[in-house]
Amino acid sequence: MSGQLTIPQLEKKALAIRRDIISMLEHAGSGHSAGPLGMADIITALFFSILKIDPQNPEWNERDYFILSNGHTVPVVYAAMAERGFFDVTELSTLRQLGSRLQGHPERTKLPGIETTSGPLGEGLSQAAGIAYSLQYLDKNPHRFVYTMLGDGELNEGNIWEAAMFAGKYKLSQLVCFIDRNNIQIDGSTEDVMPLENLRAKWESFGWHVQEIDGHNMESIIESASMGRAISNKPSMVIAHTIPGKGVDFMEYDYKWHGVPPNKEQAKDALKKLRTLNGKITHEGMA
């Protein structure tokens, strides 16, 4: 099993996953660029360090669950799954094509290892809460955890806050969530479209334990998950501040890259830049 990777090794994985994302999106000709690139470090940390999973046995009955609530960012999850050994990396090029197991938004019944079908925003958190409730109160198994990834834009959805109340009420302590706080959504800045702040206070007032981290710092990501597991009387929220399009300078911070893929030229450029942007991708303390 992995989980033993060093921070620099994890960062190398994240770089490989970013390359996979650029290539698969360019090949598919549609899909979302900014979110997957921005979430690459968190997803890498989850699949290579945090999650208790077995790629050879996706339904392993002692595994942790990972629920992607913002399903449109699934290319980063497919890339992480392939790099982790759930399937061959070559299958990534089938993304969004007819007959592919790699649907435009994740479908449980298509690809082993995808825990739930998601994409319509706001539904992943309640599904995760249902799983967490089951582990905590019905199965009474404290050794399994449910990790969830939310987009910040999807926090506009009412369903999210219904789930927030539910998880708070039942003190779902085996539920650990990350918000990809990249401040963009399709129509622009999250604070222009529908302000989310004070985001920390919102979750705290719903009964959650809240941490805020740099979503590109591997150590912070892994430590926040560890803290989330240690909090025993509340659900745990990690607001991960990220840069949309992280790693490709012409995509970074630009909401216009939310829902579009790079074309051939842009992808070539992006892949070249990813290789040279060591200062942004590589852990500062390591050569």
């Binding site: 669950y65 479908e107 449980r108 019944t109 825990e115 739930t116 079908t117 998601s118 994409g119 319509p120 706001g122 539904e123 309640s126 599904q127 995760a128 809460a129 249902g130 799983i131 967490a132 409730y133 089951s134 582990l135 109160y137 019905l138 199965d139 009412g158 369903n159 219904e162 789930a163 109340m165 539910f166 009420k169």
Partner: protein, 330 residues
Amino acid sequence: MQFYLRDNILNDDVEKEPIRAGFGRGLKAAGDKDENIVALCADLTESTQMHLFKNAHPNRFIETGIAEQNLVTVAAGLARTGKIPFTSSYAAFSPGRNWEQIRTTACLNEMPVKIIGSHAGISVGPDGATHQMLEDIALMRVLPHMVVIAPGDSIEAEKATQAIAENNSPSYLRLARDKTPIFSTEKSPFEIGKAYVLRKGHDVALFGTGAMTYELLRAAQILADNFAIEAEVVHVPTIKPLDTETLLESARRCGRVVTAEEAQIAGGFGSAVAELLSEQLPMPLKRLGMNDRFGESGQPAQLMDHFGLTGEKMAKQIVQFVQNSYQYHQ
């Protein structure tokens, strides 16, 4: 298959009970048998009769508050861990409000989430149109993988509840608020996907779902007594999957068909039958139900009469239909 109708059901003193009461008993019984069954309710526990389960199995009951979107999606999560979740609310809100969640997390996700919609139809009564759900059959019928059942009485609801506890599929159970006549017996069969011929005839086939089947039995008696029309009555508790074999057989025998439902006929049960007949056995068809309009406040019996859904009112419409339509012969 023999249905074992109760005796003397057309008498004025026919025993009545809300269909939802049967659901309450059925869920408790299913829960007694299978510890994977869990129940979730959106602040209407007694109203939907889930309290019987809650009292017997408090550790497997989950209160979600007035949050129907969360209700079904939490249920989908529970199902992912091998549980069999029953969710209940008023049909106007579940599946009325949370259709997309049901579509994505139960149907596309293939999770055996059970949607129990109580207080469906105009017989909800005084609460009025906002709470009289009429579009639920259409909404649920169109979803791949979804099973749709409208039991005819409380005894059948009890059996249907136990049946969907074991069918490993997302399922919708349509319940009514008001007391309705009990026409089936403990011995009556119930199988998902089966329709039952309750009365044989040859002039017109009457297909009913939910409590409307009882009203059709009354209509058939009026037709026989006063108009020399021998109507066949078929009870169709499962709207999806439709028992096409039984329905086509009755249609073929009678040469014309009437459907009855306490719901919008557009997209509803009548539409399901229209789709079947127009593709496989085109013949005269009359659909009775709510025709592109909402209900309103009133006593349940008044409303059923006002909207023409009593046995007497339907009998009049059926006579006209029989007199003005040709009889299909193969």
